[in-house]
């Protein structure tokens, strides 16, 4: 099958064949990381703009390395200290960037739907690198690639996603991706952090960590953002960590011996993951980061390497 979309906005938009194509493409690009000369000419002469309205080290760096390994010119545009601070609107900024003829714009924004607005306004490809609590498709793709490599397949796997489901774009993108690939998903967290009607996404819900992690193949722990506490959604970090933090003892008692522990980062050590778990043998957290570059190379290649990306606004 061939890639036909101009943009990558949400896992929800994709079908299983498209997700598989993205993961396969990423998997074939992984070997570039092992080369002495980490550069292939695939996107020579293409320009990629990283438009980040929210702080991000990992994702922005990952896109930047991915673009550079494919020989594209990568330009970083961060909102602080730029025209946004001078009062320019999002769409005006977008139009100004479009006038410079990029081939792909990678956007992160705190508002859900920001990437979709940009995709509508721009003729070039747009990659959603996280929009509010909506979606973060490249994170889900790198999680899926990690799972496939470690488990060998997706069929019938059961994944527990634990933590702040309500505010997590990572959870939402993963739920859509995993369900489309035939996996079973259980979400778990304190009731204040579980969105109402989440079952409509086709997931099971657990309200105790012990119930969620029993017999699953993968445990995906989410980052607890400290501002959830000030918003009154959890009583204290200590209490959260006591009930929802993953420790070696809880793993040994309730989880399968071959379980994978994943985390989208950055990890709050001692809150959602104990350091022994984060650095332990079950953890594939750094594999996820490495796979992130491969996934972003795959996405940029499919978007910028395709016909039609040459004509601009």
């Amino acid at each position: 099958m061939a890639w036909t979309r101009k943009d990558l906005l949400a896992m929800r938009d994709l079908d299983a064949a498209e997700i598989t194509l993205l993961i396969d493409t990423a998997a074939s690009l992984e070997e570039i990381a092992t080369r002495e000369i980490k550069k292939v000419p695939a996107l020579r002469g293409k320009t990629i703009v990283n438009l980040f309205y929210e702080a991000s080290t990992r994702t922005r760096t990952s896109f930047e390395i991915a673009g550079k390994w494919l020989s594209a010119d990568v330009v970083n545009f961060s909102a602080s200290g730029s025209s946004t601070a001078k009062g320019e609107s999002f769409i005006d900024t977008a139009k100004n960037i479009a006038a410079m003829s990029p081939d792909v714009v990678v956007v992160r924004h705190s508002s859900a739907g920001a990437a979709a607005i940009l995709a509508r306004e721009l003729k070039c490809g747009v990659v959603n690198a996280g929009d509010g609590a909506h979606e973060h498709p490249t994170q889900a793709l790198l999680d899926l690639l990690t799972i496939r490599e470690k488990k060998g397949h997706f069929d019938g796997l059961h994944v527990a996603i634990v933590g702040d489901i309500a505010h997590s774009r990572v959870a939402r993108s993963n739920i859509h991706g995993m369900r489309k690939l035939g996996m079973t998903v259980t979400v778990a967290g304190p009731p204040t952090l579980i969105p109402p009607h989440v079952q409509e996404l086709g997931v099971k819900v657990a309200y105790r960590l012990e119930d969620a992690i029993r017999d699953v193949d993968v445990i995906m722990m989410l980052r607890l953002q400290q501002e959830r506490m000030t918003a009154g959604l959890i009583p204290s970090l200590r209490e959260y960590s006591h009930y929802w933090g993953l420790t070696l003892d809880k793993l040994a008692e309730h989880a399968r011996p071959d379980v994978l522990i994943m985390h989208p980062g950055p990890v709050n050590r001692g809150v959602e993951l104990s350091p022994e778990v984060a650095d332990g043998p079950y953890s594939v957290i750094l594999d996820q980061v490495a796979k992130g570059v491969a996934v972003r190379m795959g996405v940029l290649f499919l978007l910028a390497g395709s016909r039609g990306s040459g004509d601009h606004a």
Partner: protein, 187 residues
């Protein structure tokens, strides 16, 4: 080897199973002769049928010389000069699990046509290290070169017209060992 939207029908058989096998046997001997044996030789096949041909050549050399040579797989998608013309193609990955530094690499493909694939393959190989020498083995040279590229070993020289297509069929992929010329079906 170029297959495009119009349907093709078989026009003539170029090599049958035994002729294809003889051509490979001859190339294997030529490789050993030209390189004074199998020392420091490696094979790199171009996806997909070039890899199969490289494996067959390696088997023949093992039979003749007793040396087992490594065979790598090269995908040149990321090095194409026509990405914009084709739409995003499927990348299937390069797998060369040995160092080519200082080695003689025999690059293997099924059909040599414009030479653009080989140009891309040379760039891709050199990005992986600095081989001592690169040689080119081709099953069918059909002419129409657009670049100054010439094979070192040729199974069969085959004058073709541009509208024709050369199909190399191999047991591992197509259930038979045969090379045929195809021409577009008239509308």
């Amino acid at each position: 080897m170029s297959s495009s939207p119009p349907k093709f029908r078989e026009k003539a058989e170029v090599l049958d199973e035994s002729a294809l096998d003889r051509a490979l046997t001859r190339i294997a001997h030529e490789i050993l002769e030209k390189n004074d044996g199998a020392k420091d030789l490696t094979f790199v096949g171009l996806r997909t049928r070039g890899v199969t041909l490289a494996q067959r050549l390696a088997q023949k050399i093992a039979r003749i010389d007793g040396t087992t040579l490594p065979v790598g797989t090269l995908d040149i998608t990321l090095y194409r000069d026509d990405l914009d013309l084709r739409g995003a193609p499927v990348v299937r990955g390069t797998d060369i699990p040995f160092s080519i530094k200082g080695k003689t690499v025999v690059l293997v493909d099924d059909v040599l046509f414009t030479g653009r694939t080989i140009r891309a393959a040379l760039d891709a190989l050199i990005d992986l290290g600095r081989p001592r020498m690169i040689q080119l083995a081709i099953l069918v040279d059909r002419g129409h070169r657009e670049l100054p590229i010439r094979p070192d070993y040729v199974g069969k020289n085959l004058p073709t017209s541009r509208r024709e297509s050369v199909a190399v069929r191999m047991r591992e992929h197509d259930g038979e060992d045969r090379v045929v010329i195809e021409e577009p079906e008239e509308a």
